[in-house]
């Protein structure tokens, strides 16, 4: 009897969370699907009409869409590449005995705690500005022409800024994983004559593989939706050169007031995220169980 009582109490305790998340998942998503089938512009109220799949056709044949897909993937892969490799290197370095380890750790973690709009504006104005930025000054110092980062290489610049923000995350997680590696195991390998490289590949890397997988999964979720960094630096431009899918949908909805088109774009973003999540979950499932 007691267990039955506990069980219904437990259900009652979980119910608010489940219901809220269910509502949050289903209600807006259903509305997005519905809007995506309408011709609906906020500038022409009362003119809504059923439009079938024309919004999807419009979106999928828009050259900006393919550019946005490419940019989305470039941001995700570019940032992952920099942060995973850089994170492993930094974690290995910070795991060594040194003076003032705690302070170095604090310095390295800091960029992750900075709000995205601040990070992006500081880089844009005080570093990448071709006239008064620090990079321009450094270039002139060694006799080079200052490079206009955000005009000539907008996507690369955004990748750099976002990678700066996420490098600490990868480092911190990999460092935590490294520190759980048994010191005796490392010593045993060393005494058996294993060199630094083989110790890294056969001992350290397998030990942190789970942490690497976690880093990739979590960063991918957030990197698919990079938004603030683009908004305050390039506004998606020049043209659509640095527009990712999130920014494209935002522009369609809140700048062009095209509710139908933006909704179709939103649904496409959801489908893409699901495809990525599916592969990631399978990958994660394998390493987490193995």
């Amino acid at each position: 009897m007691a267990t039955l009582h506990t069980r219904s109490a437990a259900r009652l305790m979980i119910a608010p969370s489940v219901l809220l998340l269910l509502a949050w998942m289903i209600v807006p998503l259903a509305m997005t699907i519905y809007f995506s089938l309408l011709r609906y512009n906020l500038l022409m109220p009362g003119m809504e009409e059923f439009a079938g799949l024309s919004n999807y056709i419009y979106f999928l044949t828009d050259p900006a869409f393919f550019q946005a897909i490419f940019n989305t993937l470039a941001i995700v892969l570019g940032v992952l590449f920099i942060t995973v490799i850089g994170g492993i290197a930094l974690a290995l370095l910070l795991d060594q005995p040194m003076f003032g380890q705690g302070i170095v750790r604090i310095l390295v973690i800091a960029p992750f705690l900075i709000m995205p709009t601040v990070a992006a504006l500081v880089w844009k104005n005080m570093f990448m500005n071709p006239v008064s930025g620090l990079f321009a000054w450094l270039a002139k110092l060694v006799g080079l022409q200052p490079f206009d980062f955000l005009a000539n290489a907008p996507l690369f610049s955004i990748i750099l800024i976002v990678a700066w923000q996420w490098l600490p995350f990868a480092t911190l997680i990999l460092l935590t994983a490294l520190q759980s590696l048994d010191e005796e195991q490392k010593e045993a390998a060393q005494m058996d004559g294993a060199g630094a490289w083989s110790r890294f590949f056969y001992l350290v890397l397998p030990h942190v593989s789970r942490a690497i997988t976690v880093v990739i999964l979590i960063q991918t979720i957030f990197l698919l939706s990079v938004f603030a960094e683009i908004l305050v630096t390039t506004n998606g431009g020049p043209g659509t050169q640095s527009t990712n899918l999130t920014f494209l949908v935002y522009a369609q909805a809140l700048l062009q007031f095209d509710v139908g088109g933006a909704s179709a774009g939103g649904i496409i973003a959801v489908i893409l995220a699901n495809i990525v999540a599916f592969f990631l979950m399978r990958m994660i499932g394998k390493t987490l169980e193995g």
């Binding site: 305790m13 005995p97 960029p111 995205p116 500081v122 104005n125 999130t246 909805a253």
Partner: protein, 276 residues
Amino acid sequence: MARNVSTRRKLVVTVVAWTIGILIFFPILWTFLTSFKTEAQAIASPPAFLFFDWTTENYFEVQSRSNYFKHFMNSVVVSFGSTLLGLIIAIPAAWAMAFAPTKRTKDVLMWMLSTKMMPPVGVLVPMYLMFRNSGLLDTRTGLVIVLTLINLPIIIWMLYTYFKEIPGEILEAARMDGASLSKEIIYVLTPMAIPGIASTLLLNIILAWNEAFWTLNLSAAKAAPLTAFIASYSSPEGLFYAKLSAASTMAIAPILILGWFSQKQLVRGLTFGAVK
């Protein structure tokens, strides 16, 4: 000899690590320094690193020109409000799942996690319209609601991993000693649960403070928290580097300090307990 070599090695590692650490931290340091310059010094070439006329004028200017304190309070209210509301909803759920798990508990947890994978643009349009039609657009209440919902899965997961570590036997022991349910909760469970709840609170305040999709899209002049306020510096007016730096320094300082104190919890919370 061996000792000598390892000391030298330690010195080399120290120099390399400090150099890299300072380079990574440099943009933040530079922002801090620039916030004390005049606008002319802020764009001077060659740049002044330490030897300039330090002034606190920018901090007062930012306040008097754009009512900085209002946006700061918006950030405080929105991040603390959404975190407390989230905890109130999540604590019972995490508690029940940790202490009275059923066959479906794992599935429910995975499903909650999966709601985080939905890209926010997927629901941007209806959220914007619903907010506009119900008068929630550009209000603190509206932002609190959205941030509570997007961070709820993380709060539940984090609390769950902490509650899971409280040994069940201790409850049985208390019961054997004749403790009533209310005494059990007040004297045994609460003290053991508080560290976990505190860590969750800390991490979630950091996440909510820095959230920059919904706060940018659903707020304007009135309820804009610091994320959205700083974004207004992306216009040509943002070329006032010193003022931008002063506003930025005040926006990031509280969270930087909170974050440094909660490094360990950061890892655990952000990996949903997968890496501890």
